[in-house]
Symmetry: C2
Subunit: 103 residues, 2 copies
Amino acid sequence: MDGLLLATLEDGPQHGYAVKEALRDATGGKLDLPTGTVYPALHRLERAGLIKGSWSVVSGRRRRTYELTEQGRRSLAGARDHWQEFAAVISAALGGGPWPATN
Amino acid sequence: MDGLLLATLEDGPQHGYAVKEALRDATGGKLDLPTGTVYPALHRLERAGLIKGSWSVVSGRRRRTYELTEQGRRSLAGARDHWQEFAAVISAALGGGPWPATN
DNA sequence: CTCCAATACGTAGTGACCCTACATGTAGGA
DNA sequence: TCCTACATGTAGGGTCACTACGTATTGGAG
């Protein structure tokens, strides 16, 4: 989860709702997180110091815009490594080989 | 989790402790689940009807040997599909290109 | 003008579940 | 005798994603 949100913020600051939509679009609608998942997760990441938020108002709507911190960038790199490792391990244990890839 | 345990039982009946070791060996020790994870998970799978257990005694030690049910086999196939899909979605969302592979 | 959807943020409560820690007992080697 | 490996189990805690609900504005459809 955390890695996914961080990855979305990698290409520039975004507000929560935009993060949710970006994630949905990036996965062809297959990963459509509810707001009750996204917002608490962003708060968690901010408390952890991985992202930094700031309030603004755009066309009458208040927005909390987040951007990656240096620590967040490092955490994202770690999350990518960790995911690769994790996926390889699970794929191995689940059988069928690491990456069948249209055999 | 469930899929991993089911996969371990695919090649024949095993008892809980053996499942734990098989999983550890299959992943080069990278996935060494504690007994407090394995046993409750097996109980869960049995309650769900995906595996079927039976007691026996081997060299003075009592064993609960599990084997896949038909439903369990179907569930395992589904879990493999689901994992492939899931891994693809996460990999896509996590970005960094399809497969950076030692950039 | 009214109503509803989309935008945008948030919290509370629930349920699932993995893990730590502990308990029990046998077999076998140091 | 003691410790390790084998073998199973429960209890409690902490994390976390999700459902459901609440608040507020903008803008388009009817």
